[in-house]
Amino acid sequence: MTYPIRRRYRRRTAILLFSLFTLSACGGGESGNGTAGNGGSTAGGPHLWSLVTDANGLGDQGFNDLGKQGVEESAESLGGKASVIQSGSQSQFVPNLQQAVASGSTTVTAVGFALADAVTQVAKAHPNSRFILVDAVAVDAAGKSLPNVAGIRFREHEAAFLAGIIAGKTTKTNKLGFVGGVELPSVVRFLTGFQAGVKQANPSASVRTAYLGNFNDSAKGKGLATAHFDAGADIVFEVAGGGGLGVYDAAKTRGPGVWVVGTDTCKQRLAPDNYLTAATKDVPGAVLRQNQAAADGKFTGGEISLGLAEKAVGVCEETFAGLPAEVKDLVEKAKEAVGSGKITVPSTPDELSRFTPTAP
């Protein structure tokens, strides 16, 4: 008679312990933040900077790796530890985020729009935890953004604008190509910014566009790039993730004389002789910036838009020095003009059609 009661008692204890554990985990994170916020910077403090990857995992040479760099840099400059939880599939986003919260993270960074739903769900359940969502915004059912999620959106078109200027000045044939992954808004922003840049630098040049339909078919990427080159283009802009690797391949096969413009980071080593520049997004910097805010107690949620003005986007530094002085000059001026608001870079085809180049 006593035994079943004891068993039930034990189970209740387990449940109680579990809830205490989760509560203390959340609470711990909260109080840690509190002290961090109050005391300014307690170097080597009990910070835990967590990253949850999307289904592609680490080693994607893109978002996930950049995110990892971001949390690692945060750990380096703000103290504490960086931790990366990889997701094998969509079904693991929520448990991974839960795990990151439960282990007492100061902030949880999630990269990629695919995680938007999962972050929203977990952030609602843990209003005291802080989340950084790259490339998407977490909103509740009413469409209001959550106060504990910083949704970082890059103004990719501004970076692409600069890349477009470089490309427009570099092309000999006045024909340019574009290989996109899927016609998503972010990809379209890259394209329109690029087109605007080309128009700005070289009004007689034209851009041919093509989409893969996914972000991983590098064979098709190579095929599309080759088609661009065959049609006379000498520069191809790739915004195709893993599928973009085929574009580098195609350029290498052609040899010198054709160029590739990359995305997100400098991927010069993929085709050293053909690498013109890249429209880069400073994901590590953005993550670090939000973590810094969290460490300082100034974390705010909502949408955060980052562009040239914030120096969060740009073009590949490594190849920039090798460009002709005239081009460099033009880019610097454009950077300034965009940063100061003198030029508004179009982000949709509509805006592009209304865009008229102005001398910076």
């Binding site: 449940i15 289904a55 931790s83 094998g88 079904s91 693991q92 695919a114 016609e183 808004p185």
Partner: protein, 379 residues
């Protein structure tokens, strides 16, 4: 990958519950043991790793709930594979049928405006019906033209993946304006309600349990199930005894597809609330391993799905002790390998046991002259 003759032997085992339970656990133990050197290579020790795995999967209530959530689609998918296997058909198309089931359920959930009491059943049933429909063409081709179902169902997987990608790509019929590669959220009335506040367990779990009972009942307690198993065991004998083999084959493959569609619908309507292009990380393929590991019996499939659910849920815990999630894939790969090797292992065990019994009975055998090599047979 998986050879069909292996299944024969395993089916024969289902009549020996202790042996089959033993071989199930033995397979697990061997797979986990074989992973030990790899765990050391990954830079930690098995106690830590398996401890973390257990904590992450059954360590507390939330972990347990995650195991259940992860096991649900695997369970229903495993039942789908097992049902087809019982009719002698190898449905590799579960993955595609699952995707189509999810798509159909989402389409109904997003686009129709129905009262809640009707909306959910309609969405779930549409998902199952879509899975069945996706299996129908391979089924008819198999029954009437003898086209091997393995080939056609694999082809239909690719059709399903393409359809899914197309529908949620920009401009596709289901694409969401705000979330790329996904549909809009389904109406609240079409959601499979959550069972608890704090966990992700949803009423799709109940559907899965109902499916276990239904499939078990059907296979072992109804004349139709008997005929289905008869067709699987020997189609010629079945046809000579008045069983419409073609009808049974078509029905079995479509029933299998319906279960797969149900698995997809339950994920979309229960877990995610909207269609996501990559919502299945290959449940339909894991389901094959699960069905075989579960020796094609519903309870066996339940046990195997629970184990694979534990692996999926526990992988989070593993990462927290610094082991890459790839190790989980290694362990499940080892399980699949040992499942494939199971008949040989069981055969060796049975021979040994027979030998031991024989020598126990006849004392003269042990005293036999050395001319005859009386050692147990080699494998």
């Amino acid at each position: 990958m998986i050879r069909l003759p292996a299944i024969k032997i395993q089916q024969g085992l289902s009549s020996r519950p202790f042996l089959s339970a033993g071989s199930f656990l033995g397979t697990l133990a061997l797979a986990l043991a074989a992973a030990v050197p790899l765990i050391y290579l990954a830079g930690t020790d098995p106690v830590t790793a398996y401890g973390a795995l257990l904590r992450g999967s059954v360590g507390d209530q939330y972990a347990l709930s995650e195991t259940v959530v992860q096991a649900t689609p695997l369970l229903v998918g495993g039942l789908a594979v097992a049902l087809a296997f019982h009719a002698g058909l190898f449905n590799i198309g579960v993955e595609g049928q699952l995707v189509v089931g999810g798509l159909a359920a989402a389409a109904v959930g997003v686009n129709l405006d129905l009262p809640a009491a009707v909306h959910l059943p309609v969405a779930v049933l549409t998902g199952a019906a879509a899975g069945a429909a996706w299996a129908a063409i391979p089924a008819v081709l198999k029954a009437w033209r003898g086209v091997h179902e393995v080939v056609t169902t694999i082809m239909f997987n690719y059709l399903a993946f393409g359809l899914s990608r197309h529908l949620v790509a920009p401009g596709g019929g289901l694409a969401s304006a705000t979330q790329p590669s996904a549909s809009d959220p389904v109406a609240d009335g079409a959601r499979l309600p959550a069972l608890t506040e704090t966990t992700r367990i949803h009423s799709g779990v109940l559907l899965a349990v109902a499916a276990v009972i239904a499939v078990g009942w059907f296979l072992y307690r109804t004349p139709a199930g008997f005929k289905l198993r008869m067709v699987g065991a020997n189609p010629t004998t079945a046809s000579f005894h008045g069983v419409g083999v073609r009808r049974v084959q078509i029905g079995a493959l479509m029933g299998s597809g319906a279960l797969a569609g149900l698995a997809g619908a339950s994920e979309i309507l229960g877990l995610y609330g909207r269609y996501l292009d990559s919502f299945s990380p290959g449940y339909g393929f894991q389901a094959i391993a699960i069905a075989l590991m579960g020796m094609l019996t519903p309870l066996g499939v339940l046990a195997a799905a629970a184990f694979f659910g534990m692996l999926a849920a526990g992988s989070v815990g593993l990462q927290s002790v610094g082991i890459s999630r790839e190790l989980i894939n290694v362990v499940s790969g080892l399980v699949v390998g040992f499942v494939a090797a199971q008949p040989a292992l069981i055969g060796a065990y049975l021979r040994r046991r027979r030998k031991r019994q024989a020598s126990g009975q006849g004392e003269d055998a042990s005293a036999a002259p050395a001319d005859v090599d009386a050692r147990s047979a080699h494998v």
